[in-house]
Symmetry: C2
Subunit: 279 residues, 2 copies
């Protein structure tokens, strides 16, 4: 058996096309809507990701404004920048790229992003709105997982979904989105005693641990759908997922890395920027 | 086998004693610290709960101020009341009692409770802080579950905990608190396909569905610990838990109703009021 591939590239292209159509109509005075990306790091993977946002924005008629504060930026500088962008009427979306310099807490600083521009759902208020069932931006990566499953007609309602990884940016908000769609959700992590037993009982396994090839065939039951959120840099400049490639011989369906969740994530940032929350 | 009982009464009394000690020292001008409870309902169960808070407050040296706006109160009136209490320097804690009149959304109105007085963790910002690992009040019922397990030396780290019920006030924040303590958490609900199969594989089952005796022996594995969050009114004026009494013959340990999670919950509201978040 070879797993059916669940690519994200067509899905992402479709989102970008809708964004481009809309962006052409909302720009004022011929100017394009602006997505601001704030960075304060020398991290190569972060730079790669920011370039991919900028590239996707270009094809979707969105102006991606990268504000690089440098790896020595203080929390005060970062916070002030986010406040300025929140007040800037030309800016419709704001992303605070991680990692941040030591001492700068993403969850604290993201509180300075006004919720209606918080297109990556990083402000704790956005997370709280999500948990309370109020209209808010979800973190783009978490939303990309459910969007990609939708696109490939994988209905999560009633399914047992095991999410491996409990991060604030993926695992936790993803659990929230899956519960909203009537999935039964198990959150596993580094402290989970018998990951293989729990994960292999799932209808859908989502790997969001940030560790190359950690999820192997023993973690996947026959017939399961596997979503790989991992984007781990490899020595040769490529990307490795969190899922061992051998899983393709056991799972029923599998998202590729690259070309799976990643492009959908960047497309959703643009969708959020031009359509607003729930758009 | 008969399950070991895990009562909450001693635990609650201990918390109230610490609160009373502290309350005696923080009152200004001989006045006691104030916990305000805002109600806008004729619901009998809500009235019973509010009386239990007032009674616990009395024994703990806290002044419980019940503000009854009546079952016809508008969202605007409720919001204005919460804003006034948030600004009132004498008030240290605010609880917005549910249910609310039709058209009044708890998650929206609770946004008017200033986070440092949000002793029941109802403001979406408190929920978001909790998810993002920032210091905040947790909803008292959710926190009571982990407090009661602590009190009886049930270590959740590494355990598989199945939480039945996905409410904003119990199931979701409880999952968060359990993840913080390294439990593996499965969230089940009315849309879960085979609840018995998942729940009976758990080390700990938490019933928070609001349906009398829904959790039966088939949902509980031998040796499991069962926490009953249910407080369902019975025809004779008593309370029934979410767990079928027959479970006592299968589980290793079981919290009683009444006298389990309930008294710990009210004690924690008082603890939050005098000690603040994380206190």
């Amino acid at each position: 058996m070879t797993a059916r591939p669940l690519p994200g590239t067509d899905c992402a292209a479709g989102i970008r096309a809708r964004v481009a159509d809309r962006a052409g109509r909302i720009g004022t005075d011929g100017r394009r809507p602006v997505l601001a990306v704030v960075t304060a790091t020398d991290d190569a993977a972060a730079a790669w990701y920011v370039r991919s946002i900028a590239s996707a924005a270009e094809t979707a008629g969105v102006d991606c404004r990268v504000v690089d504060l440098g790896a020595q930026a203080s929390p005060g500088e970062i916070g002030a920048c986010l406040q300025d962008l929140s007040a800037d009427r030309d800016v419709r979306g704001i992303v605070l790229q991680t990692p941040l310099p030591a001492g700068a807490e993403p969850a604290v600083l993201a509180g300075a992003i006004v919720p209606d521009k918080d297109v990556d759902g990083a402000n704790p208020l956005s997370l709280g709105y999500l948990a309370a069932g109020r209209r808010a931006f979800a973190p783009a990566t978490a939303e990309a997982v459910v969007t990609l499953l939708d696109q490939h007609d994988v209905d999560v309602a009633g399914c047992h979904v095991v999410v491996v990884g409990r991060s604030t940016v993926v695992g936790k908000p993803l659990a929230q989105l899956l519960l909203d769609r009537d999935a039964t959700v198990s959150l596993c992590h580094s402290g989970t005693r018998d990951l293989a037993a729990i994960a292999s009982s799932a209808d859908i396994v989502v790997a969001a641990v940030g560790h190359a090839h950690l999820i192997t065939a023993e973690h996947v039951g026959p017939g399961a759908t596997v979503v790989d959120v991992g984007t781990n840099p490899t020595d040769d400049g490529g990307l490795a997922g969190d899922v061992d490639p051998a899983v393709v011989g056991k799972a029923a369906a599998l998202t590729p890395v690259p070309g799976g969740v990643g492009p959908v994530t960047t497309a959703l940032l643009l969708q959020h920027t031009v359509f607003g929350p729930g758009g």
